[in-house]
C-alpha cells in the first residue's frame, strides 16, 4: 500500500515538477539553494500527500504547499555562498531564443523580482501562473481586495526598480 502511494506520488510530482522549480527559482539565488528548497518542498508534499484528496487539482495543491514551504517553513541553509548568478546562467543558455533587448529586459526583470520580499514574490508567482485574485487571496490568507491592491503596488514597485 505504502509503496503504491509512494509510486503514485512520485509519478505526479515528476509530471508537475515544473511548478516546484518555478517556486525555487523565485526564492533562491543559486543552484545549491534551489536544490535544497526543491528537496524541502518535496518532503512537505510527501508528508501532506496522504491527506490530499482528489477533489482539488494536484497542481493547485502543489502551489499552496510549495509557497508555504518557501515562505514559512524553509530555513535557508548556511552554505548559500553565492556561486553563480542564477539568472545570468539561464539566460546565457537561452540567448538564441531572444532578441537582445528582450533578453536584457527579462534579465533585469528577474533581478528586480529577486529584490522583492517573500510575500510579494508569492503574489508575483501566483500572478504569473494566471491565478485569479480569489485563489491568490485564499492561498495567502488575505482578502482578494487587498491582494489586488498589493499586486498593483508591486507592479509600480517593479516599474520603479526597472526605470529609476
Amino acid at each position: 500500500m505504502n509503496k503504491e502511494l509512494e509510486y503514485s506520488f512520485v509519478e505526479l510530482l515528476e509530471k508537475h515538477q515544473n511548478i516546484v522549480h518555478k517556486v525555487c527559482r523565485l526564492y533562491t539565488n543559486n543552484y545549491d539553494a534551489h536544490n535544497d528548497l526543491f528537496q524541502e518542498i518535496t518532503i512537505q508534499l510527501w508528508k501532506a500527500y496522504p491527506k490530499f484528496r482528489g477533489d482539488a487539482k494536484f497542481s493547485t495543491w502543489m502551489y499552496r504547499v510549495g509557497l508555504n514551504t518557501a515562505i514559512t517553513l524553509y530555513r535557508k541553509s548556511k552554505r548559500t555562498i553565492n556561486t553563480q548568478d542564477y539568472a545570468g546562467v539561464e539566460f546565457k543558455i537561452k540567448a538564441e531564443d531572444y532578441d537582445n533587448t528582450e533578453e536584457q529586459q527579462l534579465k533585469v526583470l528577474y533581478k528586480a523580482i529577486h529584490q522583492l520580499n517573500d510575500i510579494e514574490k508569492a503574489l508575483v508567482f501566483l500572478y504569473l501562473e494566471d491565478k485569479d485574485y480569489k485563489e491568490i487571496s485564499e492561498t495567502l490568507g488575505i482578502s482578494s481586495v487587498n491582494a489586488r491592491v498589493k499586486m498593483n503596488r508591486i507592479k509600480t514597485k517593479l516599474k520603479t526598480i526597472l526605470n529609476p
Partner: protein, 210 residues
C-alpha cells in the same frame, strides 16, 4: 506593455532545463526535513526535558536532599499537593504543545500556517516563563528559608548592620535578576534567530490587512 506580461511569456517556457526523473525524486522522500516546524519541535522537546531534569537532578544526586525531601513530604501535605500540581502543569504543557503542533498544516493558507507556528512558539514561551517564575520564586523562598531557619546564617545576619543587610539583599536580588536575564536572553537568541524570517513575513501579511 506591462513588465510582468513580458515575464509571463517567458515564465512557462523554461520547463525543459531542470527535469528530474522519477529515480531522482525517490531518494528525496527518504531525506530528513529541515523545516522550521521540525526544529521548533526538537527544541521544545529539549526544553521540556531540560526543565524536568533541572527540577529532578538535586533529588537524584544528593542523598541528604532526598532524605530531607522525603521527610518534608511525609510531614507536609501542602508540599505534596504543590508537586502534584506542578507535574499536572507539565503534562498540560505537553498536551498543549502536542495539540498546537498537530494543528500546523502545510495545506492551510500562508497566514493561517504562520499563525499556527507562532501559536506553538507561544506555548513554549509560556512554559519557559512558567519555569522562570517558579525558579525565581524558589530562589526567593530559599533565601528566606535560609535566613530564618538556618541557625548559622540567621545568627550571622543578626550581627549585620543595616548597611550590610542592604548589601546582602541587593546581592541576592542581583543574582536572581541576572539568572533570569541570562535565560531570557538565551531564548531570545534561539527563537529570534529561528523565527526572524517567519515573523517578518507574518508582519508583512498583517500589514496588508490594514
Amino acid at each position: 506593455m506591462d513588465e510582468l506580461d513580458l515575464l509571463k511569456k517567458d515564465w512557462n517556457k523554461e520547463s525543459s532545463k531542470k527535469k528530474l526523473s522519477v529515480t531522482d525524486i525517490y531518494p528525496m522522500l527518504q531525506k530528513k526535513s529541515s523545516s522550521i516546524v521540525k526544529t521548533l519541535f526538537y527544541i521544545s522537546i529539549a526544553e521540556l526535558i531540560f526543565w524536568i531534569l533541572v527540577n529532578s537532578i538535586p533529588y537524584f544526586s544528593s542523598d541528604t536532599y532526598k532524605q530531607r525531601l522525603e521527610d518534608i513530604y511525609q510531614n507536609d501535605y501542602a508540599l505534596t499537593v504543590i508537586s502534584i500540581i506542578s507535574y499536572a502543569i507539565i503534562l498540560l504543557f505537553v498536551y498543549l504543545l502536542y495539540k498546537s503542533h498537530k494543528s500546523i498544516s502545510v495545506t492551510d493558507s500562508a497566514k493561517k500556517l504562520m499563525e499556527s507556528i507562532l501559536k506553538t512558539r507561544k506555548v513554549i514561551r509560556y512554559y519557559v516563563l512558567y519555569n522562570l517564575i517558579i525558579a525565581g520564586l524558589s530562589l526567593i523562598i530559599g533565601f528566606y528559608y535560609a535566613m530564618h531557619n538556618n541557625p548559622e546564617i540567621s545568627g550571622k545576619l543578626e550581627n549585620f548592620s543595616d548597611k550590610q543587610m542592604l548589601i546582602a539583599i541587593s546581592i541576592m536580588t542581583l543574582f536572581t535578576v541576572v539568572f533570569v536575564l541570562v535565560i531570557w536572553l538565551f531564548y531570545k537568541l534561539i527563537y529570534g534567530f529561528l523565527l526572524k524570517r517567519l515573523n517578518q513575513n507574518y508582519t508583512e501579511l498583517k500589514k496588508l490587512e490594514v
